[in-house]
Symmetry: D2
Subunit: 222 residues, 4 copies
C-alpha cells in the first residue's frame, strides 16, 4: 500500500506482448538497472548524471543498430581463412528531437563516426497547445534513408508523433523510422504505435512516471 | 567442402551447456557480428580496427559489470517518488594482461571512471617455454577485491592460467576473478575452467581459430 | 598574380593591433595550421573533417578557458609541500549558437565536465532578411555568469551580434561574453566589436573567405 | 622564510636559455597552471586527477606534434580557392615508458588515430640499482621513424636515459626522439641533455620537487 513506490519489478514483464512486435526493450541487466537508478535519483550530481546518461545512451544506440539492415559478408582473415560475417548497410542517418534528443548525438557518433545527424525543433503553440515544428535540418535524400530518431524521454508521445509526421512529410517511409528512447510511459508507446504502427520503438524502461528532469539536468538549463 | 570456412553459425549454439555455468557469452546480435567481422577481416585499416575493437570491448565491459555484485537501493526521484533500484558495490578493480589486455583499459575506464587498474606481464621462457611472470603491478588490498581480468584473445589459455595463478598468489579468491575476453578457442576455455573452475569467463566468440593478430594490429607493433 | 590564392602568410600578422585588445587569436603553430588545412580542403572525408574539427575546437576551448577568472590557491602536495597554484572560479556557462555552434559543445564538456550549456537559434526572416531569434534555452541566473559563446564560423557577424543582443537582454554583462570561434572574416570581427566593444573574441584564423561549409560538412545535413 | 613553499613564479622564467634549444616548455597559461595545481594537490580525488591529467597530457601531445616535420600543402577549398596550408609527414610513432608513460597513450591516440604505439619496461636491478630493460615492444622500422617518447614525471632522469639508449640500440636517430613530459626536475633535464644533446624535451613544468605520486594515483596501484 505504498502508492508512491515505483513498482520496477512489474514493468519488467511482457511489454513486447503488450505493445506488439515493433516495440523493443533493452535487455534489463543489473548494470542497466544501476544506470536507470542513478538517472532517477534526485541526489545525483550533474557530473554523474551526464556520465551515467551517456553510458545508457551508448547501450541504447548499440542495440538500436541491430534494427538496421545488415548483409552477410565473407571476409578473409590474416591467416587465410574465410570468415562468414555480417556488414552493416549504408544509408542510415540520425535525427535528434531538440532539446533532450541532442544528448544522444554524441553516443550515436561514437558508434557511427560519420553518420549524418539531422535535427528537429518542435514547440507547443502557447495558445492552442498544439505541437508545432519550429526548425528542421535534415540530411539530403533522407527519403531513402533509415532514420534513428533520438528522443530520450517520452511522456505523452506528442512530440515524437509530430516528429514522425515531419519525417513522413519528407517522404521517409514509416517502417524506416527507429525511435531510440531511454524512458517512456506506456501511454506514449500506445499513442506513437497507434498513429504509426510501422515505427520501431526501442527503450530501456516503460514506466508511468517519466523522468522529465532529464534535459534540464543533462544540459543545466531551464 | 570448404575446409577453411569458419563456421560461424555452428559456434553460436549451446556453449553454456558445453562449458558450464561460469562461462558467459555476450548476446550475439547482428551488430556484434559486424564488429567481429571487421576485426577478423585482414583488409581492415588500423584506424577502423581500433575503432571497432574499442566498441566490442565496451560491450564486453558493460556486460562484464553484470558479473559484479549489486545491492538493491531505493532512491527518491525529483518528483518525490521512491524508485526501487540497484547500485553497484564498491571493491572492484581491473587487471590487464600485457600487451593485448591493455587495449581494454580505456573501455573499462569509460564505464568505471576511477577504477584501479593493475597490470601483469607474462613471458615465455626462451629455453623451457614456460610462462613466467616478468612484472606485476596490482592494486593494494587486491585480496579483498573482485578482479576484472582483461585479455582479449585466448589461444591456448596458458597466459590466463598463469595470470590467475599470480592473482591467487596475491590471495585473490578464485570466484572473484572475471575474465573479460573478446575471442577464445574452445580449448582455452576448457584449460582455464579445468584449472580454475570458479573463475568466470566472458567472451564474445568461441572459435577454433583465434585472431592472434589483435595486439599487433591494435598497437602497430610487432 | 593568383587572385584565388588565399594568402595565409599575410593574415598571420598584427591582428591584435588591428582589432584591439578584446580580440585574441590562438597561437598559430604548424599543428594548428595542419588542422586548418584539413578543414579547408574540399577533398577531406566527413570522418576526417569531424576528427580534425574536434581537435581544433578542443584547442580553442582550452585557450578560451584562459579568458575566465582564476584565483590563486595554495595546495598541499602528497609530500607535504605547499604549492602556489591557481584555481578556476565557478560561475561560467556555455551557449552555442545553432547549428554550427553545437559542434563545439562536446569539446567544452570534455574540458568542463558539468558546465551548463545553453542554446540559441537565430534565423533570417524570409521577407526582411532580419536575424530573428527563434529559440533560446539558457542557464538560470545567466546574468551572473561568464558566457562562453560558441560559433565556429563568422562570415558577416550578424548572427553573433544577434546572439549578444539576446544575452544582453538576459542581463548578461557585455564584458562577460567570450566568443569561441574557429574561423572569421575581418569584417565580422569589426562588426561585433563595433557593436559590443567589451565582448572578447577568440579565433584561430582571420581570413576574407570563411569556410561556410563547416556545419553542413560536420553534421552532414543541408 | 617558508622553505617548503614551492616557488612557482621563479620556475616560469628562462628555462630555455638555461637548458638550450632542445628544451621546450608548454606555454604557461592560467589554464595550464590550474591543471598543474589540481595534479599537485594531495586532496584531489582519483576521478578528478585522471580527468585533469588527461587534459594536461592532451595539451602536451598537441604541442609535441609541433616538433614533427610538416610540409607545405596547397589544397582546394569547396568554393574553389587554393589554400596555402601544411600537412604532417608520415613516419612517426609513440613509445611509452611503463608504467606512468602509459597514461599518455590515449592522449596521443586522440590526436593521431592510428599512430603505432610501442612500449618499454625498465626496472632497477635490486642489487646493483642499475636501470635494466625488462621488456620492449617497438614498431617495426622504428629506425626510420620520429619517436614521441612518453614519460610524464622525470625525477632523476635515469629511466629516460635508459629508454633513449634502447631506442638508439634500435637505430633510432637521437635527433628523432622527442620526449613528452608533464613535470621534470632541472637535474633530470640536465642529465638527459648531457647524455643525448640532440633529444628534444617538452614539458609543462621544471621544478625541484617532482610529483612522484602520479602513476600510483592515476592507476590506483602501488
Amino acid at each position: 500500500m505504498e502508492p508512491d513506490l515505483i513498482q520496477n519489478s512489474q514493468v519488467h514483464h511482457n511489454n513486447i506482448e503488450e505493445f506488439g512486435p515493433k516495440f523493443k526493450k533493452l535487455r534489463i541487466t543489473d548494470n542497466v538497472r544501476e544506470l536507470q537508478t542513478v538517472l532517477r535519483d534526485k541526489s545525483t550530481s550533474r557530473g554523474d548524471f551526464i556520465f551515467f546518461a551517456d553510458r545508457l545512451i551508448r547501450l541504447v544506440v548499440e542495440e538500436g543498430l541491430n534494427q538496421l539492415p545488415y548483409r552477410t559478408s565473407k571476409v578473409t582473415t590474416p591467416t587465410g581463412q574465410v570468415y562468414d560475417g555480417l556488414r552493416y548497410e549504408k544509408g542510415n542517418c540520425g535525427v535528434s528531437i531538440m532539446r533532450s534528443g541532442e544528448a544522444m548525438e554524441q553516443g550515436l557518433r561514437d558508434c557511427c563516426r560519420s553518420i549524418r545527424i539531422g535535427k528537429i525543433l518542435i514547440q507547443s503553440d502557447e495558445d492552442t497547445h498544439e505541437a508545432k515544428i519550429v526548425y528542421a535540418k535534415l540530411p539530403p535524400d533522407i527519403a531513402d534513408r533509415k532514420v534513428l530518431l533520438m528522443y530520450p524521454i517520452m511522456s505523452t508521445g506528442n512530440t515524437v508523433v509530430k516528429a514522425c509526421t515531419i519525417l513522413k512529410d519528407h517522404k521517409v517511409r514509416e517502417e524506416n523510422i527507429i525511435l531510440l528512447n531511454l524512458f517512456t510511459t506506456p501511454q506514449a508507446v500506445h499513442l506513437v504505435l497507434n498513429k504509426f504502427p510501422e515505427v520501431t520503438i526501442l527503450t530501456s524502461e516503460v514506466h508511468p512516471v517519466a523522468p522529465n528532469h532529464f534535459g534540464q539536468k543533462y544540459f543545466g538549463t531551464e
